[in-house]
């Protein structure tokens, strides 16, 4: 399934790359792309693990860029 997340207030391009890198490594994530410009992360993930994956992604985002607000769009 596809999940779209908005990272509002994401202000460091290098952090965006780091977050993307780590989210890609999560188990159950087939692909992930975080665009610094649109502040959107699009993930293709396994449906059965979606809650865990989103929680894990939220942790990664808070760790690397605490200023950004993590919002699940759909």
């Amino acid at each position: 399934m596809k999940k779209i997340i908005k990272l509002e207030g994401l202000c460091c391009a290098n952090c965006a790359a780091k977050i993307e890198e780590e989210v890609k490594k999560l188990a159950g994530v087939e692909s992930a792309a975080l665009s610094f410009m649109t502040q959107r992360m699009t993930m293709e993930i396994e449906e059965s693990k979606s809650d865990e994956i989103i929680e894990a992604a939220r942790k990664i985002s808070n760790k690397i860029e605490p200023e950004a607000e993590f919002k699940v769009i759909r």
């Binding site: 202000c11 460091c12 391009a13 290098n14 790359a17 665009s35 410009m37 649109t38």
Partner: protein, 622 residues
């Protein structure tokens, strides 16, 4: 400016003031350092705090950490003024970057902001504001002036002008009246429209476009991936070099600790990768924004990158190079004027609703005096026999195909057309001439093809399911390099594969179609381009690039935008890496000061960002 940015501006103004005061008092009073301390704190008190917090989170080597170590190091060796200055300039640069990125984000998202918030649903004779998701097919909605069209539908009442700029890039308003189809995402400029909904929100044009835009960030260009990989190794390498620089010369070669620590601190300032990382996606983003402003939607920056080096462009014929609508393209009288021949045909065909008859009447374009038309007899499969009064004389016209002429023993004295259908006209046994009706070539096609050649496209190819001779004739008229006719949809994939194998190394092949029946080809090409995207779901799904209007000439804009973006990206990468490496060398040698280093960080990112923003400002030559 956001609240955060305003607060930062005030902090930086205060910091600059104290910095200036410190410079004045320095050397005159022993307590001058207090001014510098206040200046440092005002500009960057949060930087060391963030560095500590991030280290606790396991994040080393971020810009906060680097700036903290660099400035503390400088203070430690007594370069107070420079430490404060570096912090101040670093923050000014960050503020500017933040502002510039915000600004371009906003200008592009505004452009794409076509999402309708509500629909005025008519329920039991009353209007009600509802979520567009809740409206079903067949429901009636009202669209008032200034409102966005929330769902695709057909106008049942009212007239108005629609602004379709967000969909097509076209700034001319489109006039709509009863029975006209309207697309969601356009804006009603004037007049109240009552519309019967024909599509659910999820299937509507606006939802399709938004999905496309949202996914645009999913596919990244090679240059973007390169720069993130580069940044990943750049910072650790420079930080390690800084450590070596600070420790080895004093320990092994008796260098002075202060000098080498100062140089190492300069290294740390230059080691932030942000200028690089920010400027590349910003350029691509600007390029995508410029393209969408011209009615060209791209599904990712990788396609923007690919459009810069097209070698072969393959076109579908019907609906792409041609309009797919039949029109009178030739009137060939053997005697009399063209106008006269067309008039006779239009009178003769007046009562017919056959597509050919409609084209003839459209071409004639004047009103027909019905009293002049006498008895009309239809000869199925052949044409018609019509009696028309021409002054005092009664004309017995035969209008139809070659078989009709043969049957009536009339000799056709001119050549029929290859590309279209010919209609022959005779008065009794006297042959008058022929009218040719054919699929017309789009107006801007000759210009588009010329532009593509001028832009360095090596080969222009046309594939068509139409008869080979028709294809050949159109191809010759347009000056295409290759034409393949009589192809079934499956054959087109084979042809494209063959062309792919023949293209130049490192260049790309684009296929341009109207999205009908050519999804497999769109997918197989390096860049699949669908034209007339609005309204055709299949096209939006299958293509990589969607041209919203019916203009092949938009390809030229797309190429120009992608080349401009590619140039900017290249400039930024070379400039940023070049300046950084230069400053690293100069500061290792002790020639560049920390001031130069801060330019290497902040100055470079400001310039790179300003350069990146240029990508958004593309003007078409028209």
């Amino acid at each position: 400016m956001t609240k955060k940015q305003k607060r930062m501006t005030i902090r930086l103004a205060a910091s600059a003031l104290f910095f200036a005061a410190g410079m004045i008092v320095e050397g005159k009073a022993a307590w001058y350092w207090i001014f510098f301390l206040i200046s440092y704190l005002a500009a960057g008190y949060d930087i060391p705090l963030r560095a500590v917090r991030n280290i606790i989170n396991g994040q080393f080597f971020d810009e906060n950490f680097l700036m903290t170590v660099a400035t503390f190091g400088a203070i430690g060796i007594g370069a107070l003024e420079e430490a404060v200055g570096v912090m101040l300039f670093y923050q000014v640069g960050e503020l500017f970057n933040d502002y510039a990125v915000d600004k371009s984000r906003k200008s592009i998202t505004d452009l794409m902001d076509i999402n309708p918030e509500y629909a005025n649903l008519i329920k039991d004779g009353k209007e009600e504001k509802v979520d567009p998701y809740e409206v079903s097919i067949g429901d009636r909605i009202v669209i008032k002036p200034g409102e966005k069209v929330p769902l695709d539908g057909i106008v049942v009442k009212g007239t108005g002008g629609l602004d379709t700029k967000a969909l097509t890039g076209e700034s001319m308003p489109v006039e709509v009246k009863e029975n006209d189809a309207i697309l969601s995402g356009s804006i009603n400029l004037n007049g109240v429209l009552e519309v019967e909904v024909t599509k659910l929100f999820d299937d509507s044009t606006v939802a399709k476009i938004m999905e496309l835009v949202e996914n645009a960030s999913f596919r990244k260009a090679k240059a973007e991936n390169f720069i993130t990989r580069f940044a990943k190794i750049y910072t650790p390498v420079v930080v390690s070099l800084a450590l070596i620089l600070a420790v080895i010369p004093p320990l092994l070669f008796g260098g002075e600790w202060g000098t080498w620590i100062y140089r190492a601190c300069s290294f740390l300032v230059v080691s932030c990768p942000c200028a690089l990382v920010i400027s590349v996606p910003l350029s691509f983003f600007g390029g995508l924004g410029a393209a969408s402003r011209h009615g060209i939607l791209m599904k990712g920056s990788n396609y923007l990158e690919a459009m810069a080096s097209l070698d072969t462009v393959v076109f579908d014929k019907t609906g792409t190079l041609t309009t797919g609508k039949f029109q009178v393209t030739d009137v060939d009288p053997v005697e009399g004027t063209k106008e006269e021949l067309l008039r006779l045909a239009a009178y003769g065909e007046f009562h017919s609703n056959h597509p050919i008859a409609l084209s003839v009447k459209e071409a004639y374009g004047k009103s027909v005096d019905e009293t002049l038309i006498g008895c009309v007899e239809e000869i199925a499969g052949y044409g018609i026999k019509a009696e028309i009064k021409d002054g005092e004389r009664q004309q017995g016209l035969y209008i139809g195909n070659a078989r009709l002429m043969k049957q009536k023993g009339i000799e056709i004295t001119d050549q029929g057309s290859v590309t279209g259908t010919s209609l022959y006209v005779a008065d009794g046994s006297r042959y008058l001439g022929s009218i040719t009706i054919s699929d017309t070539i789009r107006e801007d096609v000759p210009m588009a093809l010329k532009g593509l050649k001028a832009a360095g496209v090596r080969k222009l190819v046309m594939l068509t399911g139409d008869k080979p001779e028709v294809g050949q004739a159109v191809g010759e008229k347009l000056g295409l390099d290759e034409v393949h006719g009589g192809l079934l949809p499956g054959d087109k994939v084979g042809k494209v594969e063959e062309l792919l194998s023949r293209k130049q190394e490192g260049h790309n092949l684009a296929f341009v179609g109207d999205g009908i029946n050519d999804a497999p080809v769109l997918a197989r090409a390096d860049v699949g381009i669908a034209m007339g995207g609005i309204g055709s779901d299949a096209a939006v799904e299958a293509a990589d690039v969607v041209i919203m209007t019916d203009e092949p000439s938009k390809l030229i804009d797309a190429i120009a935008i992608s080349r401009k973006t590619a140039r900017i990206v290249k400039q930024n990468i070379i400039f940023a890496i070049g300046v950084k490496v230069l400053i690293l060398i100069l500061s290792a040698a002790g020639i560049a000061t920390m001031w130069a280093a801060v330019f290497g960080d902040v100055g470079v990112s400001v310039l790179a960002i300003l350069n990146a923003i240029r990508a958004l400002a593309y003007q078409s030559n028209e």
